[in-house]
């Protein structure tokens, strides 16, 4: 693996909210400060995949950076603010620059507006802290709907992120997308939850409400299944890996340990 590949794999694997820490560690391992520009493509990939937030200058508003609102050459657009902006990935700064007016031309202009509103209401009902984006695709045949909800608690050694992104095709009334959850817990250890669920749905109707209803149903079903999966793993694989106590429900009498073998009473066969 080349040096850049190795470094890029570190950036790609950075947990939610820990990109700065990962970059700082890399610099210190290498003893080089100049590595940031070398890593620009990796930062860009990370930011777009993770739906990173950047602040528009002169406002307190955070907007999403994603593959769906990229204009190329480090510029992105925001539908709601009708503006485009530059973002320097290598700077690792949280602020955009060079804001210009940007009106999205789309045959689905009205639908995009109502989707923004409806997806926002859904977000407000289910995500304590979230950001959304709705963007028509380049050929205007689909509309991308993006939600990102992150919560960082580094003082308690955990960070988490929920991401969902969908492509709605008005012509066929279909919705496809992915829900992904990333949780990092790192007090006296390093534990990571990474999930990925593909969503496919046919929409009954063509209004923004119909589309967001399908999203709401998919996300609710997913969260319920995810909660069940925790229970399933705890009762299944975890229990079968190691018992809490031996079948006798008593701790071992270590002074008599040689007798256990003679008694052949410990169950299970030799491999």
């Amino acid at each position: 693996m080349s040096r850049t590949q190795a470094l890029s794999s570190f950036i790609e694997s950075a947990p939610p909210g820990e990109l700065h820490d990962v970059t700082k560690a890399i610099k210190n391992i290498l003893g080089e400060d100049s590595v940031q520009s070398e890593l620009e493509p990796a930062f860009q990939k990370h930011n777009e995949e993770q739906f990173s937030l950047v602040k528009l200058p002169g406002s307190n508003e955070n907007v999403i950076v994603s593959p769906y609102n990229s204009l190329g050459d480090g510029r992105y657009y925001d539908t709601e603010n009708q503006s485009s902006f530059a973002y320097d990935h290598a700077s690792l700064a949280a602020t955009a620059s060079d804001v210009r007016s940007h009106v999205v031309e789309s045959n689905h202009e009205d639908l995009v507006k109502s989707l923004l509103k409806t997806l926002r209401s859904h977000g407000t009902e289910h995500y304590p802290k979230y950001h959304i984006g709705v963007y028509p695709t380049n050929d205007d045949s689909q509309i991308a709907l993006v939600t990102v909800a992150s919560k960082y608690s580094p003082a308690n050694y955990w960070n988490g992120r929920w991401r969902s992104s969908y492509l709605y095709t008005p012509a066929s009334s279909t919705l496809t997308g992915t829900i992904a959850v990333d949780v990092h817990y790192y007090e006296d250890g390093n534990v990571r939850l990474l999930t990925n669920k593909a969503v496919t749905s046919t929409i009954n109707g063509s209004s923004a409400g119909d589309v967001v209803k399908a999203i709401a149903q998919a996300e609710r079903a997913y969260q319920e299944n995810l909660n069940k999966a925790f229970g399933g793993l705890a009762e299944g694989a975890f229990k079968s890996l190691r018992r809490q106590l031996p079948i006798t429900r008593q701790k071992i009498e270590w002074e008599k340990i040689s007798g256990y073998r003679l008694g052949q009473d410990i169950g299970g066969g030799r491999r």
Binding site: S13, R192, Y222, R261
Partner: protein, 260 residues
């Protein structure tokens, strides 16, 4: 500025624990001076070898390694064989045999399968060692790495134990998609215990490891199935937040009307 080794350990605490071996290799490639310290202080999932004289599986780590060979706890021979590989003194090897027998029983009682290996080595003021346990099932694997040293004192010994458990769980289905829940947790403890003879050492280490694994199993259960699930619930809530807020408001009003 932090030492490069501290930054390397910090980085490994953040990156996906599932890729720890690849990440360690990459860091060493980027800064070869960190190799020795990293291999000593980072625990990676244990690999398995077969002892050619006893046909039994044993576990490999840095502590039973000599070059590219690993010593079998069952035969005391290196696989693949080497000339003059480092083996423990006669007294310590005797204790090692007893400890392997004891932890083989422990393994069967708690893991009902899997592989165990204990390695001991001589120290100036006592001895040190490691107890390794590994089990894999469909959908998961457990690796325990307990490293300890024992300092002999009059009628007692002072034990220092550092334990790491690497637990990987994963599941995949149509309804759920892919889920991976993997990681490691580390705990340390120091303890003085009474010693009559070398047999006491095996029993003392056994008790310490048993207590530690019980504690760590509870901790892993809490973090993997409690904390991780709670964080998901912090990110997204199934009941609508407006409903939750209304319920809270109603509750507050009830409480205040009752106290009036």
């Amino acid at each position: 500025m932090a030492e490069p080794i501290d930054s390397a350990l910090d980085l490994l605490r953040r990156l996906n624990p599932k890729d720890v071996k690849q990440n360690v290799d990459n860091i060493i490639e980027l800064n070869p001076s960190l190799e020795e310290e990293l291999l000593e202080s980072v625990d990676i999932p244990l690999s398995v070898k077969k002892c050619s004289s006893t046909k039994r599986d044993f576990l490999c780590c840095d502590y039973n390694r000599d070059g590219d060979s690993w010593r079998s706890p069952w035969s005391n021979n290196f696989e693949p064989p080497i000339d003059e590989g480092i083996t423990p003194s006669e007294r310590i090897r005797k204790m090692e045999i007893k400890a392997n027998e004891a932890f083989d029983v422990y393994r069967e009682l708690y893991f009902e399968g899997g592989i165990s290996s204990v390695y001991l080595w001589d120290m100036d003021d006592g001895f040190a060692g490691c107890v390794l346990l590994k089990k894999s099932v469909k959908g998961g694997s457990w690796d325990s790495i307990h490293v300890f040293d024992a300092q002999d004192r009059a009628r007692t010994a002072h034990y220092k134990l550092t334990s790491t458990v690497i637990l990987s769980l994963g599941t995949e289905s149509e309804a759920l998609g892919g889920l991976d829940l993997s990681g490691n947790m580390v705990r340390q403890i120091e303890q003085d215990m009474a010693v009559e003879d070398d047999g006491s050492h095996v029993a003392n280490i056994g008790k310490m490891v048993e207590d530690m694994e019980l504690k760590m199993r509870n901790l892993l259960q809490e973090v993997y199935f409690g904390k991780a699930k709670d964080v998901v619930g912090d990110l997204r809530t199934i009941p609508p937040l407006s409903q939750t807020n209304r319920d809270r408001q109603t509750q507050r009003e009830m409480i205040s009307s009752m106290s009036r």
